[in-house]
């Protein structure tokens, strides 16, 4: 078993599924000879040819809309948006069409497509290259939203996403693409969608996160552990449909919850989880829920980025604040 990075795991899952299923096609800007600007589609053109690995014109609404048409015709398109900052132009298609094709036609047509995109900041990139649009996608009925945080989960969840008979928005944490390696068996085993992963057990507080903030959250749990505080860490992984039961069960045990995201706070996915707790977990809460999020501002250019992204220190502080309640 090879030690690979997250982006290599994505690549591996794509290869595996293109090999398994001739209906799988990949499309997007620069996904062909270049292998994608992050090399997620490296080597696919050589193996499967430019008809199945499609360099599209520069047009995001087209990429999404075309994938919908392909999917309704029985292909399984895996479309890439080069950066999530350019994905807003696809919202119309995803919301008005991908998420509705099955519903609208009473199941006569369906839309088994995946829309992949790198998300999140921390790579000192230009404007629009550090977006965290997960909440917008998670608001859309009829789709799934998945956001892995490790090579192994990326591999298994992407396989699941491609095989899923409905549209999946698959968000990839750019700054984890090459941050660390993990052993990943290329065994073609998909992971279950719609389920959280409990990465670490603990009885004092529940830390909930997804995608790029998971390593930072684990680091915060380490630091808390050093201080004698046992934090449970949950990786939500599939944001929609949300496995809220796992979060509720954990908080029922710990009584305290910190939710971590790098998206701007208002109407973030952290708010959704906090709302679920206020509604279904209130009686178990021993302290106010803590949202550790980015501020409600535009992601600044790189010089100020470290002030914008929530880090370990803010997570630890939030957990301790929650623990300070008697």
């Amino acid at each position: 078993m090879a030690q690979i990075t997250l982006v290599e795991a994505i690549n591996l899952a794509l290869k595996r599924e293109m090999e398994n299923d001739p209906d799988v096609v990949v499309l997007g800007e620069d996904v062909g000879v270049d292998g994608g600007v992050f090399r997620a589609t490296l080597g696919l053109t050589e193996r499967y040819g430019p008809e199945r690995v499609i360099d599209t014109p520069l047009a995001e609404a087209l990429i999404a809309g075309m994938a919908i048409g392909m999917a309704a015709e029985g292909l399984k398109p895996v479309a890439e948006i080069q950066f999530s900052g350019f994905a807003y132009a696809t919202l119309d298609q995803i919301l008005n069409h991908a998420g509705r094709m099955r519903h609208r036609s009473r199941g006569r047509l369906s839309c088994p497509m995946v829309l992949r995109m790198p998300c999140g900041g921390g790579i000192h990139a230009p404007e629009h290259h550090s977006e965290s649009p997960e909440a917008m996608f998670a608001h859309i009925p009829g789709i799934r939203v998945v956001y892995p945080s490790s090579p192994r989960r990326a591999y298994g969840l992407l396989l699941a996403a491609i095989r899923d008979p409905d549209p999946v928005v698959f968000l990839e944490p750019t700054r984890l693409y090459r941050l660390f390696r993990e052993e990943v068996a290329d065994d073609g085993q998909a992971l279950a969608l719609d389920a959280c992963f409990t990465l670490r057990e603990g009885s004092d507080a529940t830390l909930v996160s997804w995608g790029p903030m998971v390593p930072e959250t684990l680091a915060a749990a380490d630091e808390l552990a050093e201080q004698g505080i046992a934090a449970e860490v949950i990786d939500v992984a599939t944001l929609k449909p949300l496995d809220m039961d796992t979060v509720l069960a954990s908080v029922a045990r710990t009584g305290r919850c910190v939710i971590v995201t790098e998206a701007p706070r208002t109407c973030s996915f952290a708010s959704e989880i906090a709302a679920g707790l206020a509604e279904e977990g209130l009686l178990n809460l021993l302290a106010p829920v803590q949202r550790v999020t980015a501020y409600d501002v535009v992601v600044p250019l790189s010089r100020l980025e470290r002030h914008y992204l929530p880090g370990k220190a803010r997570i630890v502080a939030a957990a301790k604040k929650a623990l300070a309640f008697a």
Partner: protein, 354 residues
């Protein structure tokens, strides 16, 4: 300064507004009996349309988009397509749908606000109505890409209006279709109006056909009130697409004789004179005159046809009205292939709520 590229846009018409031939008819139209099925569909469309408006006016259907005036475009498009081609449409092409096999009852059901109206028994592969203007043009590109990838001799046919040609999706779709030489035909029913916005406000382009120049393929303009011209242009475009020749844009000049929908009042923004002029060009009378002149049609046939159409339309409307309301759970049932656990709870709550 050197000239590096040249383009010409062609226009074609076979029958003038009085039903007189203006040039030799294409092969299929030489025997007038071949035109009778087209005529019958056009009359059926008008009967259906009138009934739908009547039902809406009496509160039995929701907002309805009339196809009055579009009969020739729709008969030309629908009759030219092969069964396993795929049709992608807006809200105004119920006439094409009929020819494709969608039942009148399904159409009425849809307009009555029931999703089951889009579960066509035939044609299973055609797309449901796309209300968001031009979005389906990119879907057509995806469909055509799939056909080409699989080396199938099938074609995606995508209908749109003049207003749709202003939208980015229209252009992104055309441009991509050109790039990959996809088997797709775009048919613009240029009915001169997009709700209250006249054609001249949509674009400074002299023709809509020339929009294809930007995408590197052929655009043609036809008299959209002349079913022979539409059908002929479709036949050529479909044959070219099947032969690997890539896309075609057909601009069919017609007129929206009705209000935009039953929610609109067109007298607010266009003159009765303009509409009266347009009636002189409408497609059904022209074809009837042509058939009558050639001895292929008469008053008795006309009366029988009208009776037949009205009966069918009446029966379908009744079948729609007799359809029981869908159950509340229905809004959950086709959202995903399998209802996720989180939604199952909501479904239960909705039913408790009923």
């Amino acid at each position: 300064m050197t000239i590096i590229a040249k383009f010409e846009i062609h226009y074609s018409q076979f029958l003038d507004p009085h039903g007189k031939g203006v040039q030799p008819l294409p092969e299929f139209a030489r025997d007038p009996r071949n035109l009778i099925p087209l005529y019958r569909w056009m009359v059926m469309m008008r009967a259906y349309d009138a009934k739908a408006i009547a039902l809406q006016r009496t509160g039995q259907l929701g907002t309805f988009a009339s196809l009055l005036g579009h009969e020739a475009v729709q008969a030309g498009v629908g009759s030219a397509m092969a069964k396993d081609d795929v049709f992608l449409m807006t809200y105004r092409e119920n006439g094409v749908q009929m020819i494709r096999g969608v039942t009148l009852k399904e159409l009425f059901l849809y307009w009555s606000g029931d999703e089951r109206g889009s579960d066509y028994a035939v044609p299973r592969g055609d797309f449901p109505i796309c209300i968001t203007i031009a979005a389906h043009i990119t879907h057509a590109v995806g469909v055509a890409y799939a056909m080409k990838l699989r080396r199938e001799p099938r074609v995606a046919v995508c209908a749109l209006g003049d207003g749709a040609t202003s939208k980015g999706d229209f252009y992104e779709g055309l441009n991509a279709a050109g790039t990959w030489k996809l088997p797709v035909v775009f048919v613009v029913a240029n009915n001169q109006w997009a709700i209250s916005v006249p054609r001249r406000i949509q674009t400074a382009a002299q023709t809509l056909a020339q929009k294809a120049v930007a995408a590197g393929f052929e655009g043609v303009q036809v008299d959209g009130n002349d079913v022979i011209a539409v059908r002929h242009a479709m036949d050529q475009a479909l044959a070219k697409a099947r032969a690997g020749g890539g896309p075609t844009l057909i601009e069919a000049l017609t007129y929206r004789l009705s209000d935009h929908t039953t929610a609109d009042d067109a007298t607010r923004y266009r003159s009765p004179d303009e509409v009266a002029e347009a009636w002189k060009l409408e497609p059904i009378a022209r074809l009837r005159t042509h058939l009558t002149d050639r001895g292929a049609w008469d008053k008795a046939k006309e009366d029988a046809l009208l009776r037949e159409c009205n009966e069918q339309v009446q029966a379908a409307a009744q079948a729609c009205l007799d359809t029981p309301q869908p159950a509340a759970g229905n809004m959950f049932d086709h959202l995903y292939a399998m209802l996720p656990a989180a939604l199952a709870k909501q479904r239960a709550a909705a039913l408790g709520d009923g």
